[in-house]
Symmetry: C2
Subunit: 767 residues, 2 copies
């Protein structure tokens, strides 16, 4: 139960850090040498060139020490970022980014009126606590708790105000959510309908293709769709199991990097020819010429790749039971994606094809049979990760414990006994282990999601976000309120009655307001300021620049624009909604801090999306229903906790009133689901038909077959460039029926996808 003073100290520290980060950002940003780190998006999309590239003085070309421009840059980025219109954001960064930014706006819309009402009504009600007279003196000297519901006596009639406010807040939140869902559904449909022609509109991904009667997969696909969609089937793209080549390519890239590095080194210091030992990790073995060594290695891998490629093209087993089937109209593709094809419901599973850059190719090779088992195993693992993650960490921490370490590795004793190392191990290592784990957590969750076998990067990201949210809900939110590990919570929940659990948590909630205020300042204010500084990409860029960059193209490759990283940012954002909604009635003093977060983070992410991030794919806001559901979930959690809190306060009359609220909220959610969600899952035929008609009228002579020819080629084949085109085609013709190869290079899905790989090889399609 911290005082206002404690909060003030924390606020001072955080604001100071915030100021330092922003100042550092402003300084770094105006340095021409960092231009690629802070404006990569502009380089990629608008073809920006370094502003001082014409400069001849080396220092002037790379550094800027102008104090004025520094001060201008300090907060100047903010109005600049806010000035760009939403339409421009959609055009330059896609709908995903625009919808992501709208979540912050949504937070603003929900919490501004709630904050005002809560501060004006609830704070006085709480603060007066039963006696209205000594109010002023209390506020000045009181703890944060005096402003919360804790200050209201048991069974007080004042609690009616809180119940009324809960209703008001819930209704307001639902109203705003409803309008927003409608808005975003409209934006999505508008985006999809105004989108330029793209291959995914005509394509359906088919999984679990059976090989019928000894025919090969491509033949089966052909005959099946010719039979069941005779008027609209155009052709299909077989998918090859290129995961091996993919691995070889990655290995080759790594070797190439080293080769580049040594060649660069040799160029700079031509005297010293680099050599290395050929054995394990370069530790032993014969000493050889490094450059020749790497060249030879790369040669070897090239041969392996060529061999694998031959094998893939000749072996019918390398064709996966998956295909991208192409139709002659959006209508036909929409029909095929939404209907059941086969009598056996586990075969010929159709779904919208993700756009080519959104496909997660590795998962196409997973046989569908194992998917059920995979999902079961992963959900058990995620459950274990959420509730028992402390166990392995505690184990590692116990190793860091001095006695334990000495036992395991007695030879380390003399080192450990040094005072400095001793205090380091005792003081920092346990915390460090936890931090390292949390740093890798989103990656671990992503790997788990990949194991589940989803086909597109966007769905992988959504699934990871959802797992991460549950982790945060249990370990950050509940874990902070009820002290103890998640496992201890689970144990106590299992042994408490259904009415006792919300009471336990409800009691803890007002007491933790101070903690969450400092959490918001540290994570939401300072953390976001650190995000805009981009310290890690900055360092990596300069390291790469130092060692690998020879040409301008290398420099481009060294730039990592990053992306919004929905898997991490969404759950964080949703946690703020949860905090805001739970504390709105209980301890409204927390609300202004949440509001500052929404405002500042909005500006930062808007700036980053416009200048920095490069989106990896476009899902047209497919993650919105997920966000909507989490906010509804937060409302429900806030109702249940208030119910528990009030039952402790002996306000029995409140129970029926507060039981109705979640029921109504849930049915509101159900209604929203039926009203809007289909817009995110299915493509209406009306829409498809309209677009087909418009296109037919505008371009009557369009050669769709040519346009769709090589859209869904495994990105690995992009490396077999024009030079190899000739003999590769011959290979193809041996395995499949020979058909005129499409030779024109048609326009492809180009929704501002500057980084989308450019496939040069043309696969033919069997019509």
């Amino acid at each position: 139960m911290a005082t206002v003073g404690d909060i003030a100290v924390s606020a001072f520290v955080n604001v100071l850090l915030w100021f330092i980060f922003l100042a550092a950002f402003a300084f770094m940003r105006i340095q021409p040498v960092n231009d690629r780190v802070y404006f990569p998006k502009l380089y990629l999309s608008a073809g920006r060139r370094n502003p001082r590239s014409g400069e001849t003085n080396w220092v002037w070309k790379h550094f800027s020490l102008n104090v004025w421009s520094w001060i201008r840059a300090f907060l100047g980025w903010m109005p600049e970022a806010l000035r760009t219109s939403q339409a421009n954001v959609i055009r330059d960064a896609g709908l995903d980014s625009a919808v992501y930014l709208r979540i912050y706006i949504l937070g603003f819309k929900i919490f501004v009126p709630i904050t005002l009402l809560a501060l004006l009504v609830l704070i006085p009600v709480n603060a007066s606590g039963g006696t209205l007279f000594n109010m002023t003196s209390k506020i000045v000297s009181s703890d944060i708790d005096k402003l919360s519901i804790s200050n209201v006596g048991e069974g007080s009639q004042r609690l009616w105000v809180h119940i009324f406010m809960t209703y008001l807040f819930t209704i307001w939140a639902c109203y705003v959510l409803y309008m927003e869902y409608g808005n975003i559904a409209f934006m999505r449909l508008h985006f999809l309908s105004s989108q330029r022609r793209s291959v995914d509109q005509f394509t359906v991904a088919v999984r679990n293709v059976p090989s019928v009667g000894g025919h090969s997969i491509p033949e089966s696909v052909d005959s099946f769709f010719k039979r069941n969609h005779p008027d609209h089937y155009l052709g299909h793209q077989a998918v090859y199991n290129a995961n091996k080549i993919s691995k070889l390519m990655k290995k080759k890239e790594g070797l190439q990097n080293w080769l580049d590095y040594y060649q660069l080194k040799f160029e700079r210091y031509p005297g010293r020819k680099p050599t290395k030992k050929s054995g394990f990790l370069g530790l032993w073995g014969e000493r050889v010429d490094t450059i020749a060594y790497y060249k030879e290695k790369i040669n070897e891998i090239d041969k392996k790749i060529a061999f694998q490629r031959q094998r893939i093209l000749k072996d019918p087993k390398a064709v996966l039971p998956v295909a991208f089937v192409v139709f002659d109209s959006r209508w036909a593709a929409a029909v095929c994606a939404q209907t059941q094809q086969s009598k056996n419901p586990t075969q010929w599973l159709t779904s919208w094809a993700p756009e080519p850059r959104d496909v997660y190719w590795q998962n196409l090779a997973i046989p569908l049979v194992s998917l059920n088992i995979r999902r079961l195993v992963v959900s058990v693992l995620v459950f274990a990760l959420i509730f028992f993650y402390m166990i392995p960490i505690a184990f590692v921490q116990s190793l860091a414990n001095l006695e334990g370490l000495e036992k395991v590795a007695p030879f380390l004793r003399p080192v450990i006994e040094l005072k400095l190392i001793k205090s380091f191990i005792q003081g920092y290592v346990p915390g460090l282990v936890l931090k390292i784990f949390l740093y890798f957590l989103p990656g671990i969750l992503m790997i788990l999601s990949k194991l589940e076998g989803y086909l597109s990067l966007s769905s992988l990201e959504r699934k990871t976000a959802s797992k991460y949210y549950y982790f945060m809900l249990v370990n950050v939110f509940l874990g902070s309120i009820i002290a103890g590990t998640a496992f201890e919570q689970l144990y106590s929940f299992l042994h408490q009655s259904a009415t006792q659990i919300p009471r336990t948590i409800g009691l803890g909630i007002p007491m933790k307001a101070t903690f969450f205020i400092t959490y918001i300042m540290a994570d939401g204010w300072t953390g976001i300021a650190y995000e805009i500084l981009r310290l890690k990409p900055l360092v990596i860029y300069h390291i790469k620049n130092m060692f690998f960059v020879k040409t301008e193209r290398d420099r481009e490759k060294a730039t990592d624009p990053g992306s919004v990283e929905l898997r991490e940012t969404l759950p964080n954002l949703e946690l703020y909604f949860l905090l805001g909604l739970v504390y709105a009635v209980v301890s409204p003093i927390l609300l202004p801090f949440v509001l500052v977060f929404f405002g500042f983070a909005y500006a930062v992410y808007r700036h980053q999306i416009i200048n920095v991030y490069n989106q990896e794919y476009e899902s047209a806001g497919a993650f919105w229903p997920h966000v909507h559901g989490r906010i509804i979930g937060s409302l429900l959690i806030s109702h249940v906790l208030l119910l528990g809190l009030l039952s402790v306060k002996r306000a029995a009359y409140s129970t029926p009133l507060l039981v109705i609220l979640p029921v109504l909220t849930l049915s509101f959610h159900k209604y929203c689901k039926s009203r809007f969600e289909p817009a995110f899952r299915r493509y209406p035929l009306e829409e498809a038909m309209e677009k087909d008609a418009v296109e037919k009228a505008a371009e009557p002579g369009l050669n769709l077959k040519a346009y769709l020819a090589d859209a869904y080629l495994h990105p690995i084949f992009q490396s077999f460039e024009e030079v190899e085109l000739g003999d590769f085609n011959v290979d193809k013709h041996q395995t499949h029926r020979s058909l005129p190869v499409v030779e024109s290079s048609p326009p492809r899905s180009e929704v501002n996808s500057p980084s989308s790989p450019h496939y040069v090889y043309h696969f033919e399609i069997e019509p």
Copy 2:
């Protein structure tokens, strides 16, 4: 804790009743006068005639006192019923009936091996209870409890056997369920594909049709489907709000019955002309000639009907925003039913049209906006009904309490004080009130389901069955194990921890084995024997025969063949699965009783389906996933309860083993769902295409438009028979564009639907 003796007494009483019912059935059945009660199905489908209709002696014609034929009939019906092949059952009674019967077979398949194993392994293990030696002496003299898990000591190693058996039983049940799901899915697809051409295969029900730009509903439907399904749209059938006419028709029918009754009376006793008072309930007013009075009343209603009909046809508001849209192929209908049509996901909702006799016409008039609210309200009501149904009943019962009654109606005091009436009120009325409530319960639940707004009778029946099952689960199963009302249970569950609840129930379970054994004998043995006796239809038939029947056609109308009444029989059946699975490990002595139920009920229902019931509609086994889900639910309940029971027995090692089991069962269920359920919800395009192709080859010149013309006409219009056809058409032509009226009477959905109404009037369809 009843002894074997108690059970024996109960068994004796029930077997005696069982014998009496069967004997009565055998006697009644061979009476020619009852022939229509016991063989109505044969009259309807096979055109059976009374076996003694040629007889001239009145007694011989109507009665049979032959003892030999009585004895032959006593059990002779059983082999007769079992002899018919499943293919014949499907042909004569539809797939629904066949699938229903297969549930009993499933019960057999699951429980025969389980019973054998349990009796051979578990009973000895339980009975020996730790000391194997004095086993024989114990079995003879012991309570039922000695054979149950209660007899095994705390922490005994013998509990491993129970855990192992639970695994074995679960695996076996899942295996049988899997095979059966596959079987039934196959049967369904086969049935659908071998079905003769029927209108519902080409028809899609469209709900929430918006009126676009001031056009009428039929015009909107036409233009929408012409635009979005240009190649396949044939036409549509508008739906009129005929609920008012429907009510008038019902009223007319009632008056007609009375008219018939008085006319018959007058014919028999021509001397006495019947008269009645014209006022309320015939209690006061002028005395008039009854026959003339009813004739006049009927005339009045006829005029009202004619007026309503005119109104409906002229008023565009009488056209509901619902339509039955007809396509030129099954493929196109399947596509339309499975895809989203409109950009606004709440408009133009398409689904498979139920077959015409399955349509629940009243619900077509419900605006979709209110459906969400209706479902919310109904689910709250069902919850209240399940948990608080004792409150109104206790209230009525308290009225039946003597002092209460005297207070409410003091004038009744002299009557109440009579000893006989006093004891009747005190002894029987409370029980009677409960029985009356339970008798009406399925009807009440059906009304609630109708309020939810489902379009087809089959789905209404499924929803009612599901509600009834929950009622039984809470009030019969849990209510018997934990004494007390459902409300008291709810209260105690809310105040117990999640680990305590299964413990409480688990402890109660073995003790209640005796109760459930007597329950099975009373409800499952005697109750089923009562079902075959058909006492109620028998009495009603003879009453009707006495008062209303003039012609053979009237006699046909007086016959009520009844139907399987899935809404009641399915939940009952599912309860037996629950009992069997829960007690399989806990108290296996219950299993043989369950087995007898499955065997006997199978024979009875097979007999009834072949000879008696007339199915109202055909849903091709659409209720199967529901049954499968309930059995899986029973498995889960049995696991949780065993977990609770074993935790009381201090077998802590069992917890992890028994936690894995429900997780595995659930994922098995999920797998089954994805593997088989689409076969019950969607119509695969492959299948549709095949049937279309076969039909096109067989009947190239088929006039589909004529065939589909008037399929989905509100049954109310059937009464406007040929006589009125002329002027009705003229009316139609004024409201819609005039088109050549289809005059031929095409074959219609005739899957053995002898009772399906025969529409004579032909609506035209706008192509």
